[in-house]
Amino acid sequence: MSDRLVLAIESSCDETAAAVVRGRSVLSDVIASQAELHDRFGGVVPEIASRRHLELLDVVVRQALDDAGVGGLRDLDAIAVTQGPGLVGALLVGVAGAKARAWATGLPLIAVDHLFGHVASAMLAPDVELEPPYLCLLASGGHTMLLDVDERMRITLLGSTRDDAAGEAFDKGARLLGLPMPGGPELAALATGGTPGAVTFTPAMIHHDTLDTSFSGIKTALAVALRERGRRKAGAEPSDADLAAAFETAIVATLAGAVRKLVAQRGAGSGHPQARETLALVGGVAANAKLRAAVEATCRESGMRSVATPLRWCGDNAAMIGVASAWYPDRTGSIARSLDAYATSPLFRDRELVPN
């Protein structure tokens, strides 16, 4: 892997982040979250997020350089930035800040896809030295994808959600249960107090030959259960914790089921011409302990190695953008100066993402 010293910047949603990495070693990693700012609006408000990114970006970058002991920008080899997908107004703050620094110092600029960043984040797992090729489950706030990653980090989309993303489902479930944002971790915490099996929600049945997933049925099941139980009263059954546990279990089962199918089709011993031996679990929802355990168990059954992104780098961060940048070409000159952000990933549009 490249051993260049890279400053990476990420501002695609509601985290302003900067990191300094060398290859896969993270020398500094600063994340300023705006989650609380958006809570009162019931979701991320793009204009508020963009304004906050502007206030935070330079402070976060200064901090990342300081923490890494980098004297000045000129000691770096390149500057990487998330180009998309995400909120364009928010992305443009990171992109403008990165372009300005690259232009002023003459450093090359590297434009990285955010989803590619999540996929590469598994390379941050310690003691594993993960290298492509591998299969990947990306489960985040905006995406739920089953992917193939080849030797050159070219990514192919094999299956995705037909409705909500897994993280979005967690967030909506959490709202139904009256939990604050971000809902995933709150719901998982509530679920630990529930009795497993007290309530069950059936995971979505999707036709057996597709790798697509669906979560809206589970969300509806929770809404119905809550309506049937009626307004919260002391001691009402089933408890919120039981419902949270059932909800989490159904989502995890859906994701683990998709992984099982993926591994059967493309994993070790599948006989597929491009069979892979490793599966990576990445994205914000990969922080979920039950999902990590279920994916690990599923892979172990089929003789696959599984690698999950370390908890710190599951959600949005700049370290993963820095690691991912090693696979992308440098941009200089006019292309770097006029770089724009984009809202939708090519992975979604073309079912394929080639880092170029």
Partner: protein
Amino acid sequence: MPLLCIDTSTSLVVAALVDASGAVTGSTSSGRAQALLELVDELLDAAGRPELTALGVGVGPGGFTGVRIGVTTARGIAEALDIPLHAINSLQAIAADVATEHPDEVVWGAIDARRGEYFVQPFRAGADGIVVALGPARAIAVADLDDLSGIVVATDGMDPRALARTALAVVAAAEDGAGDPLHVVPDYVRAPDAEPARLQLRIDPLVLDDLDALMRLEERCFPAPWSRGMYEEELVRPANNAVHLAARDDAVGGRLLGAGLASRIGDSWHIMNILVDPSAQRRGIGARLLEQLIECSSQLGGGDGWTLEVRPSNTAAIALYEAHGFLTAGMRPGYYAETGEDAFVMWRSADNPVVPA
């Protein structure tokens, strides 16, 4: 001297360079703000790439995204080159030339604010040629442009030379040590278009089942939260001597947004705690809880009245209590153990009529 100025607050991208001799070159482009650096690069190439010593950037008002690209770019360059950055009022740059040509007349700078509005601000140049703002920038309806008294300049973009002159005036007036890029922020004038999610507030009893949510709320509200045990103890007090209320938002599954606890101690009621989720503050939830606490405790027999302790630094809470008839009755030195802070003791007597705020 080489001073680079940029502005992206209108649909015209503007760059100007003041070289060491004070000569100004400039250039504009009708392309997107995303290509701002292309324009700047060409301008600097044409000038033989002088080493920049200062920057100026138009901070708007204007298109939010455009202004942000300009300001973020300028801050990034200033950070990278370690040179000062100065904020330029984009409306002033637009009005400057006309104002100087018509000394002592009111000249309005105007920038299309979309949605049928313009950002406007009045300026006047004195005999010395110095342009000063006569009032703040604001957004007005397009139809009201005609009613402004004075000359209105509503060009799209500004002459690079006017941008440079305005920047030079800012630099000349700047104090020593000014120019920290982190202090240069957009002047949006307008608040972001965002409505706080609508609340469906319900006030009802706070029960033991709420403990988990209550602890989360407490942690979000206070650096030194009450322990779970303390709340548990409060919640199991006999119902005729205690009032425990929850504020829930039925728009989001009855999420606990606030809580209020009062206990009868001797002949008076003690307001033990009122807490409101940070994301829902300044929306009247604290007041609703306080009013209901007083109402419910009155029904149980109000006794002599109500009392509470509050941090002197918590001015918002003090204002709330004063608006509900509480008066400061004394001070408890060092009351808050964690910080050693004093507490104000506030008191509302049972026969004290509430003065409406």
